[in-house]
């Protein structure tokens, strides 16, 4: 008879019928190697769960409070952006009937703020991971922006909806609140379609993120923030190319999964300043 692995496991675990069990035992009686394998399998019937609870669990580090708080904050953002009640100034407004694309946008906006403002620490692999280059010399705001951008999938950007209305509102807000006249670079000749602009915040400072989509592949972000002079440098953060430079009173960073020459080419085609 044919004894496969599944049958032998069922045999040692007592999951075979009496007839099938007798057939296996007949086969074992004439095959010493098979009988030895079955003896090893029988020796592996062990109390794994309790063994790990007793011997492994006590030596495991406890769940860090900071990590728990961050995940709870992420979950709260997800709940708020997917229709839970939003309480504001004593009034309750329901988001339950918000269109799905707006809910998604709100989730991403919430995550953006959370990521940049709280410094979620997603950059540890990026900044110090083995095999990665250049992370140690990159300014923290760029690491945060890169980590945030790394969470963008192509579909996320495509789901974002029409950019023109959103951009017009952002430009008006930047002008009235910050006296900033933002110019959106046209990168169509370089094969990049402008998709969205967001106002973010890192360490209390304004960060403007412009997102472009190439014909294939992941989105590319152009980020800028008012900052003191920084050296121009290129690096790889979490598989993303980052090209950073200074122009006037603003620091810029181009972030995306493009080749280093392609990033440099894009940088050279940008007409600065943007503000």
């Amino acid at each position: 008879m044919l004894l496969d692995e599944q049958t032998l496991l069922a045999y040692v675990d007592g999951d075979l019928s009496a007839q099938r069990r007798a057939e296996v035992e007949a086969a074992l009686s004439v095959n010493a190697d098979l009988a030895q394998t079955v003896r090893h399998l029988q020796g592996s019937r062990l109390p794994y769960q309790s063994a790990f609870e007793r011997a492994a669990l006590p030596s495991m580090p406890p769940l860090p409070d900071a990590l728990r708080e961050r995940i709870e904050a992420l979950s709260a953002v997800a709940v708020a952006s997917h229709g839970a009640a939003l309480v504001s100034q004593g009034r309750t407004a329901s988001l339950a009937h918000m269109p799905p694309e707006n809910q998604r946008r709100l989730w991403w906006l919430g995550l953006a703020v959370l990521t940049l403002v709280l410094g979620l620490g997603l950059g540890r692999w990026s900044a110090t991971g083995m095999g990665k280059a250049g992370g140690d010399n990159i300014e923290p705001w760029i690491v945060a922006a890169s980590n945030y951008h790394a969470m963008y999938a192509r579909e996320t950007v495509l789901d974002g909806g029409e950019a023109s209305t959103q951009v017009a509102a952002l430009k008006a807000r930047l002008l009235t609140q910050h006296n900033i006249n933002l110019q959106i670079p046209d990168l169509q000749p370089q094969g990049l379609r402008f998709m969205r602009a967001q106002q973010l915040q890192f360490d209390g400072k304004l960060v403007i993120q412009l997102v472009y989509l190439p014909q294939t592949g992941s989105p590319v972000a152009l980020c800028l923030t008012p900052a003191i002079a920084q050296k121009r440098r290129a690096a790889v953060l979490d598989q993303q190319q980052v090209l950073a430079w200074q122009n006037g009173a603003w620091a810029y960073a181009l972030i995306g999964q493009l080749s280093a020459p392609a990033m440099q080419h894009l940088r050279e085609r940008l007409v600065l300043p943007l503000v």
Binding site: L9, G43, S44, I71, E72, G83, L111, R124, G131
Partner: protein, 177 residues
């Protein structure tokens, strides 16, 4: 309302333990849990609420970790010790409490060591099925492999463990008898 978010906080201790077992490194585990939760929330439309949230979250975590390992071109070592490694050395350090129940705790440690010594693919199926109590189908979903592959890995893992512990099992049974 996000159906997944409440599961995240409830399952966080399990996610944490799985991340520690995957990475064998506390800092890597923290990053892995966080990235997995972000990705899960980002893609929660893909989650079937009738399915197990745990196996779906484990699958995301395993996928992220595999990619990280590929990008580092490294594989986890069998045991790490130190500031942020998880000490799984089971060969020494008998304590007073162990002496109170020497055989039981020592035997538990031998079981843990036998699982930890398995090749990575076999170690993972043992952790999912024997330790976490998942079904073969759930383990296949987590590891993104056919169920036959899971069966084959668990078979080889159990033969190895039985072979390694045969002496320990024998002496234990003799002692108990």
């Amino acid at each position: 309302m996000s159906a997944l978010a409440p599961h995240l906080t409830l399952l966080l201790p399990k996610l944490w333990r799985f991340a520690l077992r995957l990475t064998r490194h506390q800092h890597d585990a923290e990053d892995l849990v966080q990235r997995s939760c972000v990705r899960a929330l980002e893609r929660q439309q893909q989650w079937n609420p009738e399915g197990s949230p745990l196996s779906w979250l484990y699958a995301i975590m395993h996928s992220i970790w595999l990619n990280e390992m590929r990008s580092r071109r490294l594989h986890p070592v069998s045991s790490l010790t130190g500031d942020d490694g998880i000490d799984s050395d089971v060969t020494d350090a008998t304590t007073a409490s162990e002496l109170a129940e020497p055989e039981s705790l020592v035997f538990c440690r031998q079981i843990v060591a036998a699982v930890d010594a398995l090749p990575e693919a076999q170690r993972l199926v043992m952790l999912l099925i024997a330790v976490d109590g998942m079904s073969y189908a759930e383990a296949a979903e987590v590891l993104n492999v056919p169920m036959g592959t899971v069966m084959s890995r668990i078979f080889r893992a159990r033969v190895s463990i039985g072979e390694r512990l045969s002496g320990a099992v024998k002496s234990r049974r003799i002692h108990v008898a």
